[in-house]
């Protein structure tokens, strides 16, 4: 059975516009409807694994019309988006009771999901820009949702840098159109192969790297992230850190570099350097933080570095043409880490939201001894921490192991050493979280707090189970279906165009 691709965008989009009608009185009905939408998206995303398809919108054949393309990488992104959004939506059902205007929140949430699904599926660079703006605008509004001093300031900062990134991307799209006369990724890729990379296209590629780098918060462009992610409500922090920066930044950048422009040694090294910078700087800055969510936000920058490092290493190895197997290994490590990070970082943000809801604070120094009071939060947070640090049975260990192995195979021993070193820094920051939040003395004013109940716990336990079990994705049988097609989508490089044109 083939899945009609537009439903991935239509379901959240239509639900988003229906929800505000419910207003204040129909809050519960709106919550149920929004949860139904995200869970049905999860089912569809699972059903789409291992399939590939091209859908021409309005029956306009490409390159005249716009197409949606489902390949291995897109279905991996759809899976990650739907897992995180289903969990975050379940968590918000209870968590967002403390805010007013819940229906509007749910509506913006679904708009963001629609935009991200659109980015993951789009096969047309201008259409990609439009969906990227839908997701970004919804996220700017959600960061400022509380309308307090800090939230508005963070939202404005995020919005200015995000808009500059979007303008850069639009400028690059215009340059690509001017130089190749096409907007469809497959046709642009063909035109670039036949004409080579001239000055205008090289400038466009540079603009794409800066624009998507701003969206992904890679280190020279990261200034907005540590303000924006902690200021948002906890489920939105989970969405932003877990999946938004990956879809809008990493996925779009990888698609451009590998499938449209084609890899070269220099762009590969640029990605490796950006990845290493993000890893090291993010980890050092995170250790010094005393705000729970701010620490998690800096840790996101560091973890995004791993993903970019894996992809960049793969690009370098492909461009050198030495050994494709090692290139696939590096990309596998990067993409697997992307999926893992989506799950455990959203879980960590959800636990931070649970702690904040119970204690009313985010400052590590004002907490302590919560292990007895919040047993479920404590257990899930420990699972997620073990996973992000890389303790063997949990998911984070496997992706980091693959990355180290790929770096050693590529004879870049110093890169492998930095990966291990940043893992140690990660260990320090999460030991700090465990020590100050869950162990130690319980302060006087927190004696009365209780564990949160209901849907929040379900969401956290669901993600914790995934953290524990995701290592199984490397088992033969599952690996061929989920991870390998995604890696192949990148390693085939510019042959992507033949595949898309052939499939229609």
């Amino acid at each position: 059975m083939s899945i009609p691709l537009p439903v991935f965008i239509a379901i959240p989009l239509v639900t988003a516009f229906v929800l505000p009608v419910f207003g204040k009185k129909g809050k519960d009905a709106a919550t149920v409807l929004a949860n139904v939408a995200t869970i049905s998206l999860l089912v569809l995303a699972v059903a789409s694994i291992g399939k590939s398809a091209v859908y021409e919108i309005g029956k306009w054949s490409i390159p005249l019309g716009i197409d949606l393309v489902l390949d291995g990488l897109s279905s991996l992104m759809l899976l990650a988006i739907s897992v995180v959004s289903a969990a975050a939506m379940l968590f918000s059902a209870r968590y967002m009771e403390q805010y007013t205007a819940k229906a509007k929140y749910l509506s913006l949430f679904l708009l963001m999901v629609a935009g991200m699904n659109g980015v993951a599926l789009s096969g047309d660079i201008f259409n990609l820009f439009v969906f990227l703006e839908i997701a970004s605008l919804a996220s700017y509004a959600l960061v400022g949702f509380g309308c307090e001093h800090e939230e508005l300031e963070a939202s404005f900062k995020y919005m200015v840098l995000g808009s500059i990134g979007s303008v850069f991307i639009l400028f690059a799209v215009a340059l690509v159109y001017g130089n190749t006369g096409a907007l469809n990724m497959a046709y642009v890729s063909e035109a670039i192969q036949s004409s080579g990379l001239n000055a205008g296209l090289a400038f466009a590629l540079a603009l794409f790297v800066v624009g998507f780098g701003l969206k992904a918060a890679l280190v020279p462009f990261h200034a907005w992230l540590p303000d924006a992610h902690p200021s948002a409500p906890a489920p939105i922090s989970a969405m932003l850190s877990g999946i938004l920066i990956k879809t809008l930044g990493i996925y779009a950048l990888a698609r451009m570099v590998f499938n449209v422009f084609g890899v070269s040694v220099s762009i590969g090294w640029l990605l490796v350097v950006l990845g290493l910078l993000s890893m090291v700087a993010g980890a050092f800055l995170a250790i010094g933080q005393w705000d729970f969510k701010r620490l998690l936000a800096y840790s996101s920058i560091s973890q995004i570095g791993y993903v970019v490092l894996g992809i960049g290493l793969g690009a370098t190895l492909i461009a050198r043409g030495t050994n494709l197997a090692w290139a696939s290994l590096a990309i596998l490590g990067g993409l697997f880490h992307l999926l893992n990070h989506a799950v455990y970082k959203s879980l960590l943000f959800l636990t931070s939201g649970s702690v904040q809801m119970s204690t009313g604070t985010r400052q590590l120094k004002q907490m302590g001894g919560l292990a007895e009071k919040l047993p479920v939060t404590r257990t899930t947070c420990t699972v997620a921490s073990a996973s992000i640090v890389g303790i063997p049975p949990f998911s984070g260990f496997w992706s980091k192991l693959i990355l180290v192995w790929a770096a050693v195979q590529a004879q870049l021993y110093w890169v492998a050493a930095i990966i291990v070193f940043v893992s140690l820094c990660t260990l320090i920051m999460y030991l700090k979280v465990q020590r100050y939040v869950f162990l130690g003395e319980l302060p006087e004013n927190l004696q009365q707090i209780k564990e949160n109940r209901g849907s929040m716990l379900v969401a956290m336990v669901f993600l914790a189970c995934l953290c524990a079990l995701m290592g199984l994705l490397l088992v033969p049988g599952l690996k061929e279906n989920i991870l390998d097609p995604a890696v192949q989508a990148l390693t085939t490089g510019v042959k992507y165009s033949d595949a898309v044109i052939g499939m229609r």
Binding site: G144, H149, E153, F156, M159, S163, I164, V167, A174, G178
Partner: protein, 122 residues
């Protein structure tokens, strides 16, 4: 030459967004950048002495039934105009959101000066 001026406009907008201290001026800077890109897109489709890309009966050669060569050589590219329309709508949406956030921030802090709006650090 027009392309260089268009790029200059883009850089003026970027300079304004990066250097200015007033929130509203930053927003104006971003908008100038957006308009520079829109102008660039429009110029991509420009053709001096071009005709509207609409085919009616007059554009067909009576003898062969083919589209006349004169029309093919003079019609402008319609796609950039469609792109610019979309881009304008998007930038309008983001402008509305940015200005509303500026107003809410002004209500809270009583100033538009970003050097005085500094509660987030680290």
């Amino acid at each position: 030459m027009p392309y260089a001026l268009c790029f200059l406009l883009f850089m003026i907008g970027l300079y304004c967004a990066v250097v200015k201290k007033n929130m509203v001026k930053i927003v104006i800077g971003i908008m100038v950048m957006e308009y520079a890109v829109n102008l660039f897109l429009i110029m991509l489709g420009f053709r001096s002495g071009g005709a509207a890309p609409i085919i009616d009966k007059g554009q067909f050669e009576a003898a062969t039934g083919q589209i006349a060569a004169g029309f093919v050589n003079s019609s402008v590219d319609p796609l950039p105009q469609a792109l610019v329309l979309t881009a304008i709508v998007i930038s309008l949406g983001s402008l509305a959101l940015m200005i509303s956030i500026c107003i809410r921030t002004y209500e809270k802090y009583g100033t538009f000066d970003i050097t005085q709006i500094r509660r987030l650090k680290g």
